[in-house]
């Protein structure tokens, strides 16, 4: 009885599935719409045009949709994934990007200023060596 109900739910979800819209280009390129997959997961969200077998992509998308529509567990998973995506977008990602930019700019400015003072490479390298030695000395 429960199995029949589950099968009917799965069949209904496959039939009425408004989420799954996949276009096939030629034979191998599969384009997946961004609005289709943005609520699912990172790997599905990130692909634009894939060079893989279209059947496997369709099957994976179907399985994800079925899992989502299967019940409370799927909804919980959907909420958790979507929450984690928004949290990652809003909170720390941009700040860490700015930190990485400053990190790179520090080394670039050191190299440029040492080069302006007449040393091509070695003063820059020894400055880095001394700092790395100090860092390791504190850590170890």
């Amino acid at each position: 009885m429960r199995k029949q109900r589950r099968n009917s739910v799965v069949a209904k979800s496959q039939k009425l599935d408004p989420i799954l819209r996949i276009e096939t280009k030629r034979d191998t390129n599969v384009k997946c719409h961004r609005d289709v997959t943005q609520h699912h997961d990172y790997d599905v969200q990130s692909f634009g045009v894939l060079q893989t077998d279209p059947r496997s992509v369709i099957e994976s998308c179907q399985s994800r949709c079925d899992e989502r529509k299967r019940g409370k567990l799927g909804l919980q998973r959907f909420g958790r994934v979507r929450g984690s995506v928004e949290e990652r977008r809003n909170s720390g990602h941009h700040n860490h990007g700015a930190g990485l930019h400053l990190y790179a700019l520090t080394f670039v400015s050191l190299f440029v200023s040492m080069r302006r003072m007449g040393s091509n490479f070695w003063l820059f390298a020894t400055t880095l060596f001394s700092s790395v030695f100090a860092f390791l000395f504190v850590l170890l």
């Binding site: 990190y103 050191l110 040492m114 007449g118 400055t127 001394s130």
Partner: protein, 159 residues
């Protein structure tokens, strides 16, 4: 020293650590040493810092003079900057703010102390070697150019 070190915190905080510590002290000292080395090459007026260093009565080679003059000029500023940064980071480590700031400030303060030590020993020695290499290169270039000049003068005399 009783402070737990989280590797995730370390890997995420490494860019901020580098930006906090920075390399501006070594740039300031290098600039001062190189400009002092240029000054020692030029003919000097009576009240130059080189003569002041000679009056104090220390070292003999021009490279040591250059380093000494540079440290006399910029040493106070560098030590003051180090002291201020270490005090600020120590205050951050003692503030008790949870979430990684305490560990970050503690690590950054100790790295600054260690960097100051290696800066005053290792980096100054490397800078001295670099100045000696520059002097040797200049000397070799000067000798080669004078040798070429004498050869060309001999060739002109033969003509």
């Amino acid at each position: 020293m009783g402070v737990p070190l989280n590797m995730v915190l370390l890997s995420e905080g490494l860019p901020f650590l580098v930006v906090t510590i920075g390399f501006e002290k070594s740039i300031i000292l290098t600039k001062a040493v190189l400009s002092a080395a240029l000054d020692t090459r030029r003919p000097r007026p009576q009240d130059s810092p080189m003569l002041a260093a000679q009056k104090v009565g220390v070292s003999s080679t021009p490279m040591q003079y250059a380093v000494q003059v540079a440290i006399q000029e910029k040493g106070y500023e560098i030590v003051r900057d180090y002291a201020i940064e270490i005090c600020i980071l120590a205050a951050g480590a003692a503030s008790g703010v949870q979430g990684g700031l305490q560990q970050f400030c503690f690590l950054a303060a100790w790295i600054l102390v260690s960097t100051a030590f290696s800066f005053s020993t290792f980096y100054t020695a490397v800078l001295n070697i670099k100045l000696e290499i520059n002097r040797i290169k200049r000397h070799i270039a000067l000798r080669q150019s004078t040798g070429k000049m004498t050869e060309s003068i001999d060739a002109l005399r033969e003509l």
